[in-house]
Symmetry: C2
Subunit: 393 residues, 2 copies
């Protein structure tokens, strides 16, 4: 489907809600290929272009879409008007390419809504109080939508994605996975951080902070999606909301580290300084005679594995550990549910299910509403199906 047809489809969808008398603000992204094309132009000039200028450049992508979407609505006889991020009063900090929204002054949006317009706002962008153009980084358009919904006190915010909603598990793996009618912010956050790539965590965090109820739904059909909202009493009846499998992590084990205060701090400070994102961390009790020694294991995104190895190796002399072992063929299986808070024995049932399937557990990590285990990737899908059958259906 070409860009013009996509824009016409968005307009047709908006027209339907407009006909019901809703006041509508639409947040749009750049057209397919536009952002990548602009990045290529910039990198053809200079491999590491200025982030300030990249923001000026990339902000044009969404600006094009807002104008074309407004025109597509005019074609359907609907009053519509476009606003850039700056015009919509989206004020951010000055961290170019990944700015944070400071506040929104939706004065113009209110005025245009009051005069009967559909307002089309450019996602992913804002401006600093000094008038510099900024962009919000990955998932920025979702964030714009949720932040605007908060500022406008919207009844509902719909996030259109390429998936139907949030499922109990990836339906490509677990064929009887079902779409959730609703999910709590915290569950959604855990799932977001677990590789269920529906939305970026910070958009969900923003929604949670400001109590924005939003619906994740598909841009390709009219099926109802999944409503994401504050946890309710009856949500706790369900122990496990969803099961996820993250295949994009790798494991690093630092073998026989002298077990003395400050060692873990040294390791993870160094990784943080190198912008390596560490997920799970496990440290067992000391063993051996003489100076006590321990093994420290952690997981990182696969793309960061080499960087993590280099960081650890650079500390070898200082810390005096024996070896660094890495494993890439791992999977992180997680179960998530606010019901875990009030149900006991969940971990036991999980481990039992895995044992029955002959799946060895490598690492374990828990939170109040989540249990994650690292297992061999070759057993990942078998394990996921079994766990889904145990806890969901």
């Amino acid at each position: 489907m070409g860009n013009v047809d996509r824009i016409k489809n968005v307009a047709a969808r908006v027209a339907k809600y407009h006909a019901q008398g809703d006041k509508i603000v639409v947040v749009v992204s750049a057209m397919s290929g536009v952002t990548d094309g602009l990045i290529k132009l910039a990198k053809d000039i200079m491999p590491l272009p200025s982030e300030r200028e990249m923001d000026v450049l990339l902000a044009t992508g969404e600006q094009q879409t807002i104008a074309l979407t407004a025109i597509a609505l005019h074609r359907l006889g609907i009053q519509a008007v476009s606003l850039t991020g700056a015009q919509a009063g989206i004020v951010t900090d000055g961290v170019h390419t990944k700015a944070k929204i400071h506040n929104i002054t939706p004065k113009k949006t209110h005025e245009f809504l009051a005069s009967g317009h559909v307002v089309i706002v450019a996602g992913f962008q804002g401006q600093t109080p000094e008038g510099q153009i900024t962009t919000l980084g990955r998932g920025g358009s979702d964030l714009t939508a949720i932040a605007l919904a908060a500022a406008l006190k919207a009844d509902l915010c719909q996030i259109y994605t390429d998936v139907d909603g949030v499922y109990t598990a990836d339906p490509r793996i677990v064929t009887n996975a079902t779409k959730l009618a609703e999910i709590s912010y915290d569950e959604m956050l855990e799932l977001a951080s677990l590789g269920a790539k529906v939305m970026q965590s910070r958009s969900v965090e923003f929604a949670k902070k400001f109590g924005v109820i939003f619906e994740v739904r598909s841009s390709l059909n009219d099926n109802p999606g999944t409503i994401v909202k504050e946890e309710t009493k009856n949500m706790e009846g369900v122990v496990v909301r969803g099961v996820s499998l993250d295949k994009n992590q790798a494991k690093v084990t630092v073998v026989k580290v002298p077990d003395k205060p400050g060692v873990a701090a040294r390791i993870f400070k160094a990784l943080g300084d190198a912008t390596v994102n560490v997920d799970m961390i496990v440290q067992n009790i000391s063993h051996g005679t003489g100076t006590p020694q321990t093994d420290i294991s952690f997981t990182v995104d696969k793309v960061d594995l080499l960087k993590a190895q280099n960081v650890i190796n650079s500390l070898k002399e200082e810390l005096g550990f024996h070896d660094v072992i890495t494993a890439e063929k791992i999977g992180k299986l997680s179960i998530v549910g606010v019901g875990m808070k009030s149900h006991t024995g969940v971990a036991g049932r999980l481990f039992e299910t895995l044992a029955r399937e002959g799946v060895n557990i490598d690492m374990i990590s828990t939170s109040e509403i989540k249990i994650s285990v690292v297992i061999d990737i070759s057993k990942g899908e078998t394990a996921m199906k079994a766990v889904h059958a145990t806890f969901v259906n």
Copy 2:
């Protein structure tokens, strides 16, 4: 040459001036093909898209170029920063797609210049006092450059075009035409309105009004161009600065119009209402017995000929004229020079030259610094060469 190479060329040129210690503001246009591509997208959605939204859409073209030009300067180790029209403080009226500049508040430009930056400003665009994005219409980037030069009190404004400068005649026709070192605003204005398509009249008018000295030069080489400035005493030594031939006009003659008060007003009011741009107008003395009758001839842009005919025909019953005759195969030959003010006999020498070449004169129109004649287009180039030889060299 691709867009990236063009942008790198601009940066290299700026770098040269920068190395001389000049403070530089660069005004840029959209990359080749970008504006046309965006217009096509909009028209694919709706044949007559909203002018407000077209401005939002098309302003992205220049915004892309400013960012990429700044990046190209960074690559050369030069501090540079981009500003959109709005950021550069270019305030316009609200007439979308052809806005007029009201004023410029070059606060940010001054600040960035003071801190040693080259400032890259998006041409062709501005914003209304209410913050709506506007564009300035054809030739808008030249206008931005001249208006900014005025606001910043620049020493010099260079306009880069696809021609070397202003010539005494079109060198493709008159092989010994020479490039002018300088020309007055008024002469440039006459030439602009005569089909020498170097610049739009309104940019020249703006420069004249604010005394901005500018140079028209080529973006393809380093040759000095033509300086356009206020008339000086020694400019008057030259009778004819240039000769032009406009082949894009058509002639309309309204035959045997009853010669009574208000008839001409009626005709030209109707043409104006239909946005037909009328250039030369000639009305001869009345002839005939009974009610006096006259012929009124005028020229219009060829593209407007049909519209003009329709307008005149719609008045036939009301005005009672006999017929409308049109001629498309005409050329308008003009000589321009501030020296005409102080030299006599110029018209006589022009007519004599044309007579010698066997060129019949169809219409004559004069201003203080210009004489134009309408002739048969087949004699156009012969006439131009002869007139150039008589008055220039």
